[in-house]
């Protein structure tokens, strides 16, 4: 996920993963509940009241992301997100954020493979104004050629900050590119540098016209506001925008059968330590059979999340072969999910040893399953996480917005804790089958000079 500015980002550990889809049981009666409705022009609206502070979070989510980019224009979804802050007929160049700031608000936006989202956090009396502005730029964006080129330099600097200066991020890009054979998830959200350098005003406007419309968006408002207030304001702003009948979800290329596990090695003297990584394509909440994604969440929690997990215990505590080891499951993708493991081996420990131990941990769960005690602990951790999230209206907005944008329903989201609670140890054991080595890539990063193979220029 990429954001327009660095300063609002916090590295959520399981971040985009399923915590963004996690509601609760014990809090079902007292916890916040969403109200939803749809305007005649197709805009889907979700409101989650929280009146502890006189503040609202206003977010618009578009059902489009980097995975929908036309070939050869990688990065255009994120570039457009930046350009959305430039100008409209009503709003002068660069004024959008400045107006929000003068209102005492904060704004930003972010782009991922499946979604693009814009948000403002303001005191409740400012909601009408930011809603008016967000509705305006949904269809009235005005782009100046010169400003587009300047902003292109900004995203190229962003790429240098995030990727080019950081060997771990370069490896991550290469892992993604190797994991998927055909699906556009293989292309980084920020874009390949050579394609970014050629992105144009025309590319941005074409993407905008094709995907930005009320019938391709979800409005999420959380905070000190009622559904009725939101409905009235939305009708007066977004409601005036006609449906765009030409907008439709892009069919993305699907993966062919995977017949060979991939392996990659990156040598970069700028790397801090030797690191080992593996990623698997897995089902997501959108694509999984009922209960399967919940089981994967629990499986990866037990296997690899935190100091009580089996992988950490085995590699770091018992065998003492690594300073860190862990993993995660991300079920928030529209077309597939991802499972990952990583480790930082101690000096002198071969990657093969790391791999053998992690495979051993997986094999053991495949054969014997998990204990009831582990399962209960993992469930408790997730359910508690939901309650902690209810403390934060911005997290709530993100939970609902993300899940709805990739195809979940409010019911799916709010019944999640119940479904999670019902997962059995047998289901967790069965979920191990998704750790299919043929659908994986294993990658290593070494702090060494790259090889000079025969034929290469010295």
């Amino acid at each position: 996920m990429l954001t327009r500015a660095l300063f609002h980002i916090r590295p959520l550990i399981i971040g985009l993963l399923m915590l963004s889809l996690s509601p609760v049981t014990s809090l079902a009666q007292t916890g916040p509940r969403a109200t939803e409705f749809t305007l005649p022009n197709g805009l889907h609206i979700v409101v989650v009241p929280d009146n502890r502070a006189p503040v609202v979070t206003h977010m618009v989510w578009y059902r489009v992301g980097a995975a929908d980019e036309p070939p050869g224009t990688s990065g255009i979804a994120h570039f457009l997100e930046h350009l959305m802050f430039k100008a409209t007929e009503k709003i002068g160049t660069g004024e959008f954020s400045k107006i929000v700031s003068r209102l005492g608000g904060q704004d930003n936006a972010f782009t991922a493979q499946d979604i693009t989202a814009y948000f403002q956090r303001v005191s409740k009396d400012r909601l009408p104004k930011v809603m008016e502005m967000e509705a305006d730029r949904m269809v009235n964006l005005k782009l100046d050629e010169k400003e587009v080129l300047t902003e292109r330099d900004v995203i190229l600097e962003e790429r240098r900050s995030r990727v080019e200066n950081n060997p771990s991020a370069i490896l991550d890009e290469q892992l993604g590119a190797a994991l998927y054979l055909a699906h556009p998830y293989r292309i980084p959200v920020i874009g390949w540098e050579h394609e970014m350098a050629k992105l144009s005003r025309a590319d941005a406007m074409a993407f905008y016209k094709r995907f930005y419309a009320p019938n391709n968006a979800i409005l999420v408002v959380t905070g000190d506001v009622t559904p009725e207030e939101v409905r009235k304001l939305a009708e007066a702003t977004y409601g005036k925008i006609p449906r765009n009948p030409n907008v439709k979800t892009v069919e993305r290329p699907a993966e062919p059968p995977h017949r060979a596990a991939r392996r990659i090695e990156l040598k970069d003297p700028r790397a801090g330590r030797r690191t080992w990584h593996r990623q698997y394509i897995a089902p997501s909440y959108t694509t999984a059979a009922p209960g399967e994604a919940e089981a994967l969440d629990l499986l990866l929690k037990i296997l690899a999340s935190g100091p009580t997990s089996r992988v950490y215990r085995k590699l770091v505590v018992e065998e003492k072969v690594a300073s860190s080891a862990g993993g995660w499951y991300s079920g928030s993708g529209r077309d597939s999910g991802k499972i990952a493991f990583f480790s930082v081996p101690n000096d002198g420990v071969e990657f093969s040893k790391i791999e053998q131990l992690i495979d051993g941990v997986i094999a053991e769960v495949a054969a014997k399953g998990v204990t009831q005690e582990e399962l209960e602990r993992a469930k408790k951790a997730y359910l508690a996480e939901y309650i902690y999230q209810t403390d934060n209206q911005a997290s709530l907005a993100r939970r609902y917005g993300w899940a709805l944008t990739v195809g979940s329903t409010v019911k799916d989201i709010e019944e999640w804790p119940e479904r999670l609670s019902q997962v059995t140890a047998d289901q967790v054991k069965a979920a191990v089958r998704h750790l299919d080595i043929l659908r994986s890539v294993t990658g290593t990063l070494l702090p060494e000079a790259p090889d000079q193979p025969p034929g290469s220029r010295s």
Partner: protein, 455 residues
């Protein structure tokens, strides 16, 4: 785990550990407007039966309790040659206590689903603790154990030591981290603020169990403790909690004196070569202390010059107009014993000289002309209007209030703050801009392969 390797993010950039103290930053950014709905948040001053003071905000709408506390001291208390002790101690706090070894302690943490973490800053060691109301008592017992009876078992220590060393190996090649550490070393030679707070491979290798225990005993006391609680808890319950967790600590901390200091007001430019396409630049100069009469004017000034948001002059000139950088900013960092005005930019190597020229030019222009009346008004509107955004979760309220407590502000500060911002005049800001912004006296650290530098 506070100490595991920096590999878990995906496309995120980890915020650089620049010489910025999180809690102090929060404070810099705070400004009140809550008086508008004061009933939404009432701060109570609590004294426990055992005599421990705390601030409490009761909020029973969500079944959670957030506790934040700080022991004055922090990494500036690391003994000479043992840099990183406070960091090591912070990482050991969930590695076993009382009868529970590391594994049992962490399993119990998961069963009770409470969150506990510790982090050292230059002037304090911060604790953060959150629990569900239903698990309050057993969770608090775990916090009590951690604070009073951490085990520091050899096995756990060696594991954490490896993690810290691994973290240092990553940091040594991370241009942001290198720039931050080198800038501090340049600005504060011979002072604890100039030392690497996370330690060095040499110092981490030497730290013993006795070092951790001795640091804990000297730093964990009642007279240097500040506590804030927010959430589903009554004053009586909080009083009992405070005595239980902190009541057995020594009455007085045994802190080493830290000398008052300041970065030299003299231009110094250091380039640390690193093979990266984008250079990371840190700059800074003497700042303005929190108790200085000009602090609030400096705060408003910084907001206009390079503070958060897209409205600052540096963002406008460096990013929006010229496309030189994704990130450019400035901030005030008032440490206990030194005040800094600082900033940074990351730009491709070819543009470092030009970016620094633009930044210096903006500092000069601001020092000479000050802001426009319109900029003043915009900054005040933002600072006063956005205040409520910093108080919309239990966790954020607790962080903010702890910052106020740490600075010694009164319980009414929150109600006075907007007036303080609004009282700053254009003349104040012009005067402070002249006093603070010295474009030709910056201490600059550049990490990368910069080109075009004129100084």
């Amino acid at each position: 785990m506070s100490s595991s390797a920096p590999l878990r993010g995906r496309l995120f950039v980890r915020p650089a550990k620049l010489p910025v103290v999180a809690s102090a930053m929060l404070l810099c950014l705070a400004a009140p407007v809550l008086t508008a709905k004061a009933h939404a948040m009432k701060i109570q001053q609590i004294k426990s039966p055992g005599g421990i003071d705390a601030w409490l905000v009761q909020e029973h709408a969500v079944p959670l309790i957030a506790l934040r506390f700080v022991f004055e001291g922090g990494s500036s208390q690391n003994p000479a040659g043992k840099e990183g002790v406070a960091n090591f101690l912070s990482a050991m706090m969930d590695e076993g206590a009382g009868d529970l070894d590391s594994h049992k302690f962490q399993e119990r943490m998961e069963e009770l689903a409470f969150r506990m973490s510790f982090e050292d800053a230059r002037d304090g060691l911060y604790g953060s603790f959150e629990t569900l109301t239903t698990n309050r008592d057993p969770s608090i017992e775990m916090l009590r154990l951690a604070v009073n009876q951490p085990r520091f078992d050899a096995d756990a220590m060696e594991r954490v030591r490896r993690q810290l060393l691994s973290g240092l190996a990553f940091a040594a090649k991370n241009p942001n981290r290198v720039a931050g550490a080198a800038w501090s070393a340049q600005a504060f030679p011979g002072h604890p603020y100039g030392l690497p707070s996370d330690g060095t491979p040499q110092s981490i290798a030497k730290i013993t169990r006795d070092d951790l225990e001795s640091f804990r005993k000297r730093n964990f006391a009642r007279d240097n403790l500040k506590v804030v609680a927010v959430g589903d808890i009554t004053p009586e319950q909080l009083g009992a909690l405070l005595d239980r967790v902190f009541g057995d600590l020594p009455a007085k901390a045994d802190l080493a004196p830290v000398a008052q200091t300041s970065p030299a007001a003299k231009e110094r430019v250091q380039v640390i070569p690193m093979d990266v396409p984008q250079s990371v630049v840190q700059f800074g100069s003497p700042g303005i202390a929190r108790d200085d009469d000009d602090f609030m004017a400096a705060f408003v000034l910084n907001q206009i010059l390079g503070g958060g948001g897209f409205a600052s002059r540096l963002t406008e000139e460096v990013r929006e107009k010229r496309g030189l950088a994704y990130s450019v900013y400035s901030y005030l960092q008032p440490y206990r014993r030194a005040a800094i005005f600082a900033g940074g930019v990351a730009t491709k190597n070819e543009e470092v000289g030009r970016s620094l020229d633009v930044i210096r030019g903006e500092l000069r222009r601001m020092a000479e002309e000050g802001p426009t009346p319109e900029e003043m008004q915009n900054a005040k509107d933002y600072l006063t209007g956005s205040f409520a955004l910093r108080f919309d979760t239990n966790a954020k309220i607790a962080n903010q209030l702890l910052g106020f407590l740490f600075e010694g502000y009164g319980i009414d500060y929150i109600d006075k703050r907007n007036a303080l911002v609004n009282a700053v005049t254009l003349a104040d800001v012009k005067r402070v801009a002249q006093r603070l912004l010295k474009a030709d006296e910056l201490i600059v650290t550049v990490v990368g392969k910069p080109q075009g530098m004129t100084k």
